[in-house]
Assembly symmetry: C2
Homo-oligomer: 362 residues x 2
């Protein structure tokens, strides 16, 4: 078991990464503030791992809520169901929500924990690669609104993250790849050494070799923990974790929540577009752009968006949270393993980027 | 115009108290992060003050949302309407919610500001006495749940509070008195000098003499600002601001939200019961108890709860947020102008307190 620490304004909390952690009562007990635990999961994860987690919590008072699986359930209505479950269990301020599942379960459970009695403890037990390397760490919680993803939420740090990498063995291939997009993000935007490691170990990751996967999760979490410690509320450097996300959110919103795009896939396209845009603006050279795009494509991830007009792109990107004073700001690579938030750019460069990635360009 | 400062972990913000402030553009402009402002108010306050506030914001891009008046609308559904209004206005992260109204408008607007894009700015413009001296200051925001008041919410400090005491002139008598209960709370629980000032100036307050009212608002805000600065997240001393509230919440929940009890009235009864309970436990003497109860009654506030069985009291108080590890803790006076959170007590003392305040004891 590998333990990382996330330092935040309110104190620090551990990220435990290892194999077989969900069967270890000691991994959970040290994190719990009291005896009351609500395990929130979904109907895909529950048959696989719920009983094992409940066995580890057997000495406590666990209650359980099984939600329907899927991003379309990441709504205020489902949030409200978690609150009701906490009330029905008779839980108080010292209760804890344990989120067992992927990013949707984690975001919903974290937001419910943030709001119940204005904030109770939350333990994240991510079972998807996306959740293990990204959404479970850092305290961002949210639900979607018809007008945009994660539009309603809170910053609420968990009391701990327990990432059991063996749970990734049951992950469908496509979801594993979508999670890998966020892993690549750390290399592309923040860590040249990790980028090179990814170039050299991509096949082992695609084969889900246990040691490679564990290494990638630990490395990703370490980078994220460092960035979050520097900028918990995303007023500066943390925005770099959104590399590819402004383009990606536009794709997801355009496609609609019932669509066939996974978040990581949209982010992969977004990163590929961000690289092109940076090349258009001259902040990276053609070879750097090519290396970034090659890594994304070698991972089997999409690099081209669906057909969307330039006007539609501009409209949807204008809704993004990173818009300050009505101006679109983008996270763009500035080299291998480095990136920056752009202060602005001419719309023509964006239009050229969109044209270069159009589906008929494929 | 009197300016107080609230120091919090995230920085400090001003409380401006004075007469005619809502007509002063300068009072608002210095607080706003950008040009986008959503003014949230209700259908009782809007005809009185909305046009004047909008005139002060004329150089900006104000949008408006008028909610139905009443505590029963302090729900997740109404919260969702505010989010929709922010989306419909095309507002972003640098937008601001301006809450014009009493505690319900302030709590709802503050919670929506806390959650929209995980936190945007909020200016509180309280128009009730309760909101000016209590709910607008300190960053507590929430909505009600059928299982309890303020069960879902967030700590989210406003960027400023603009308390125009002339808006209290239009307040119905009963609401003014209910707000006065929270003013008394500061004297009873936290400041002996203020308690004595209240004993000596109660009639001037009841007559709403402008200087007395302004003085009481400033003094109350100063006490609250000090307590919040010491303990923003209510992990210690801030709990003392809940004097009378555990009893009071039980009354409100028992009566139901459509009931005839105002929050301040329930708190007044709660403080009278807390004094009796402290006397039962021997932490204050009979004379101190009498002085506290006499001040509450002289203000024309109720001191007796509705008919409720002891079992019902225990059940409802067990749901309160101040319950730690299943144990009821109460804020009780320890003298004039001082109070403490009790570690515990025998149920017999609670039963005797309830018996002594039963309606047929009146």
């Amino acid at each position: 078991m590998h333990a990382l620490k996330v330092n935040t304004a309110g104190g620090s909390y551990p990220i435990l990464v290892g194999r077989g952690l969900i069967d270890r009562a000691d991994a959970f007990v040290s994190l719990l503030p009291g005896r009351q635990v609500l395990v929130v999961t979904n109907d895909v994860v529950a048959p696989l791992y719920l009983d094992r987690v409940l066995a580890s919590l057997a000495d406590l008072e666990p209650a359980t809520l099984v939600l329907p699986d899927g991003e379309r359930h990441k709504t205020l209505e489902t949030f409200s169901r978690i609150i009701d479950a906490l009330v029905d269990a008779g839980f108080h301020r010292d209760a804890c929500v344990l989120a067992l599942g992927g990013g949707v379960v984690g975001d919903l459970s974290g937001f419910a924990a943030a709001c119940f009695h204005r904030g109770i403890a939350c333990i994240q037990v991510p079972t998807s690669l996306l959740a293990q390397v990204d959404s479970s760490v850092g305290g961002k919680t949210a639900v979607n609104h018809v007008a945009g993803k994660n539009l309603v939420g809170a910053f609420h740090q968990p009391v701990g993250v327990v990432a059991d990498v063996t749970t990734l063995e049951t992950l469908p291939e496509r979801e594993f790849l979508a999670g890998l997009a966020e892993v690549l993000k750390y290399g592309i935007g923040l860590d040249e050494e990790f980028f090179e490691w990814l170039e050299n170990n991509l096949q082992a990751l695609l084969d889900r070799e246990p040691l490679a996967v564990e290494r990638a999760v630990i490395w990703s979490c370490a980078i994220k923990a460092r960035v979050v410690a520097e900028d918990e509320r995303e007023q500066g450097r943390r925005a770099l974790l959104n590399l590819g996300h402004t383009f990606g959110h536009a794709i997801e919103t355009h496609a609609g929540y019932g669509s066939d795009w996974l978040h990581g896939e949209a982010v992969a396209v977004g990163m590929a577009m961000a690289a092109l845009m940076a090349e258009e603006l001259g902040t990276i050279d053609a070879d750097t752009c090519r290396r970034i795009r090659a890594l994304i494509e070698a991972a089997g991830l999409p690099a081209h968006p669906p057909a969307m007009s330039t006007d539609r792109w501009m409209e949807l990107m204008g809704r993004d949270k990173k818009v300050a004073a009505g101006r679109i700001r983008l996270v763009l690579p500035t080299g291998i393993g480095s990136s920056a938030l752009s202060a602005g750019y001419d719309d023509a460069a964006l239009a050229r980027t969109i044209a270069r990635t159009a589906p008929n360009d494929d």
